[in-house]
């Protein structure tokens, strides 16, 4: 008789898949997580939305709002760059984004974030969970929430994919990229350096037949073990192998060489360019949440030189991505967001740097019914304060999710406990939502 240490639900099955995703990504973060699975019952599905997606571009370190979305040329804080017109009459952005400027009719700018924070780690957590960070608590990442809401039951790929550079010393983001009480099914699968997940290809020297024989043997051992001592851990391990095989069969999803030479050239050879092309590919394959990180913008020294360098890498691939999603009809169902953990100080320091600044900065959104071409809120003449329509991370979180059809006033029901999907004290930026 089969014993059900694991709850046996579809959710449970996906928990085990998450183990595999992390293994494939080389993270191994889910090792030993099986014991967590038993206590996670099926979560009520309060969502109506399907077939929507979120593409979040996270500019790590804190991109300068003055060198991007809220330029203040010829003021004491403005820096040396000029403002340029965009495809939206009357809306100007920094001259460092000439290609993005041509796509602004697909996007909207929120120029009035006041998140009252200048700490990197806290900023990452707050922008990606929509809540104030509380020491000791662990809230699900936007990617996990989105995946929970939008991931079809039979979807063969992970629902929450993070595309980033290899972790370096500054790995603040990955610490807070988990699914918390939503369970490891919705934890991110990370892809590094534009390459497919580690070990996705069958090892050289292992023939397909040998691979099948090995898997058959493993399956027999597994079944024999499960028949006597079935545990959540053993189920998780078994399912991990199953999903590994699923992913290995779909390795082409991560293979940029399948894109046309023209597209590969358009997106360029930079790592971020490749990541944007990969993001397009993942969105086309229906992955509900894709986050592309670009680093680094923590420019305490020579802010202007470094923003030329970093935004020079960002601008054209990002603009191509927006244009391509629009051209292919995907933007109607794909919410694009460009965020950071905070902005940068209007005051320019003695080494031409800008420091951390959460008091008045900007985020960009578009697609999925977000009103295109809008500018929400404003700052004063030199960008030191928000003067109209103050919003924060909580409001942005509500807005992203509502744009893809999630009722953010609802709750997650986890083991009989109710967890608000988003901070009940906040709400969506309603004028952005169609």
């Amino acid at each position: 008789m089969r014993r059900h240490q694991a709850c046996g639900t579809a959710d449970h099955a996906f928990h085990r898949r998450a183990f595999l995703r992390n293994s494939l990504a080389g993270g191994g973060a889910a090792l030993g997580m099986g014991h967590l699975l038993c206590g996670v019952p099926a979560i009520a599905a309060p969502f109506q939305a399907r077939q929507k997606r979120v593409l979040n571009v996270f500019l790590h370190g804190g991109v300068s709002q003055l060198e991007t979305w809220d330029p203040k040329p010829n003021t004491d804080t403005g820096g040396p760059f000029r403002a340029i017109p965009t495809s939206v009459p009357g809306t100007h952005i920094c001259e460092l984004l000439p290609h993005t400027a041509k796509q602004m009719h697909h996007l909207s700018i929120i120029r009035s974030l006041d998140t009252k924070n200048s700490d990197h780690g806290r900023g990452v957590v707050e922008m990606t969970t929509g809540h104030k960070r509380i020491v000791g608590s662990n809230l699900p990442h936007l990617g996990a929430v989105t995946a929970k809401a939008l991931l079809p039951d039979d979807f063969p790929l992970p629902g929450h994919i993070l595309v980033r550079s290899s972790p370096g010393k500054r790995n603040v983001e990955s610490e807070h990229h988990d699914a918390a009480y939503l369970g490891p099914r919705f934890t991110n699968m990370a892809i590094f350096d534009g390459k497919p997940p580690n070990s996705i290809a069958r090892p050289e020297g292992l023939s397909e037949q040998a691979d099948l024989r090995r898997n058959g043997l493993r399956q027999r051992f597994n079944d024999r073990f499960a028949g006597r001592r079935r545990t959540a851990d053993s189920e998780a391990y078994g399912f991990s192998f199953d999903q590994a095989r699923d992913l290995m069969e779909r390795g082409e999803v991560f293979d940029l060489t399948r894109e046309s030479a023209a597209d590969q050239e358009r997106y360029g050879t930079s790592e971020f360019g490749k990541h944007c092309l990969l993001a397009r590919r993942l969105i086309e394959h229906g992955v509900p949440y894709v986050q592309v990180n670009h680093a680094d913008y923590d420019t305490h020294h020579e802010n202007f030189n470094f923003h030329i360098e970093q935004l020079g890498e960002f601008d054209q691939p990002f603009a191509n991505l927006v244009a391509d999603l629009a051209d292919r009809g995907l933007l109607e169902d794909t919410l694009i967001c460009v965020m950071s953990e905070f902005g940068r100080t209007p005051k320019i320091n003695k080494t031409y740097g800008r420091d951390h600044w959460g008091k008045a900065w900007s985020v960009v959104m578009g697609g999925a019914g977000i009103q295109p071409g809008a500018v929400i809120g404003s700052t004063n003449d030199n960008g030191t304060e928000v003067v109209d329509r103050v919003v924060d991370h909580g409001d942005v979180f509500h807005t992203i999710l509502q744009a893809v059809g999630v009722d953010t006033r609802d709750n997650f029901d986890v083991g009989g406990r109710s967890f608000p999907i988003a901070d009940p004290a906040k709400g969506p930026i309603s004028e952005l939502l169609a």
Binding site: D76, G168, R170, D298, H300, K350
Partner: protein
């Protein structure tokens, strides 16, 4: 073996540097330039104006044309014209004197920032460099483009003429130094000054380039000022440095550093005919004037400034140094060389 001759003790401070003039502007300064006839010091700031400080009466007039900050200046040798280079990609040519100068001409010089402008000693040419990776040679008389030099693969940070006006030397973000013939398209890669470039693997960004440039009067060496040994590009944690490059062989003859490893960047360099290189620095270590004899790696004198310096210019009489400060001040320092008439050997 002859008995060593007694030598006088060198003074405790080889240089006495005193602030003689202090002018407070409304914005932090970006650069300064002492014009050849010593009537004015021009400076740029975090505004869109060219500022002219009158050394006789201390008044300042501000000239509008640029659409961004002014990064550099040069003058015609006769003291008639000053050239301002802006982050708007433009070089504006102004009469130096007069109550209310207007641009004589405006040269749309580069796509992106103009990072430096230089005037030839013969008075015939201007040279510019910029973020479009180009070096350009202009006719100083009419602003006509004479030649466009391509070869750099990164932003070109600085350019200078050799004293005989026959060649240009330029340096880019990655410390690649190139020499260009004024009278032909000929150019050659001169040197790679690896000490003036780092790629920060944590922040994934390049830092480097020649923030200051100067040439020895005999044309044999060019001094390139910047930052070296960078451990954190985005916080500017590195040491000041001036690389001396032989203009013929391309050999990096010496990299001048600070004895106590002053954290920061050299933002201005000059060669003083008294036989030493001067650099001004800004950064975590504060503002300093560094004095190197060129024979030793470390400076023989170093003077703390009131604040970080973003540019400097020697007076034509060689006794004063103007410094553009990040605390919105233009300060003119009087320089007294207290070294023995013949410096001790070594």
């Amino acid at each position: 073996m002859s008995e060593a001759e007694p030598t006088a003790e060198p003074p405790a401070e080889p240089f006495r540097v005193e602030v003689a003039v202090e002018f407070k502007h409304s914005r932090p300064l970006t650069c300064c330039h002492w014009e050849p006839l010593s009537r004015y010091v021009f400076f740029g700031a975090e505004d869109h104006l060219v500022h002219r400080y009158d050394l006789a009466d201390g008044t300042v007039i501000s000239l509008a044309h640029h659409d961004s900050w002014v990064r550099d200046f040069a003058s015609s040798p006769d003291g008639a014209t000053v050239y301002s280079a802006g982050f708007d990609g433009v070089v504006a040519c102004w009469p130096i004197a007069g109550e209310s100068p207007q641009p004589l001409r405006v040269i749309p010089a580069h796509d992106g920032w103009v990072r430096a402008v230089a005037a030839s000693a013969c008075g015939k040419f201007l040279a510019t460099c910029g973020n479009d990776r180009l070096v350009k040679l202009w006719d100083a008389a009419d602003g006509r483009l004479i030649r466009e030099y391509s070869g750099h693969e990164h932003h070109v940070y600085n350019v200078i003429f050799l004293p005989d006006s026959s060649q240009l030397v330029s340096c880019d973000l990655k410390g690649f130094v190139r020499a260009w013939q004024v009278d032909s398209e000929h150019s050659k890669p001169l040197a790679t000054v690896a000490q003036l470039h780092d790629y920060d693997t944590t922040f994934r960004a390049d830092i480097g380039g020649a923030r200051g440039i100067a040439v020895h009067p005999d044309g044999g060496l060019v001094g390139l000022g910047g930052i070296t040994k960078v451990t954190n590009a985005f916080a500017g944690v590195g040491d000041v440095a001036v690389a001396l490059v032989h203009t013929d062989s391309g050999e990096v003859v010496r990299v001048l550093e600070s004895k106590e490893a002053v954290k920061g960047t050299i933002w201005g360099v000059a060669y003083h005919p008294g036989g030493y290189w001067v650099g001004v620095s800004a950064g975590g270590g504060g503002g300093w004037l560094h004095f190197w004899d060129g024979q030793n790696d470390h400076e023989f004198a170093k003077v703390k400034l009131k604040f970080d310096g973003r540019g400097m210019s020697l007076s034509p009489d060689l006794n004063r140094i103007a410094v553009a400060h990040a605390d919105s001040h233009l300060r003119i320092h009087e320089l007294t060389d207290q070294r023995p008439a013949t410096p001790p050997a070594g």
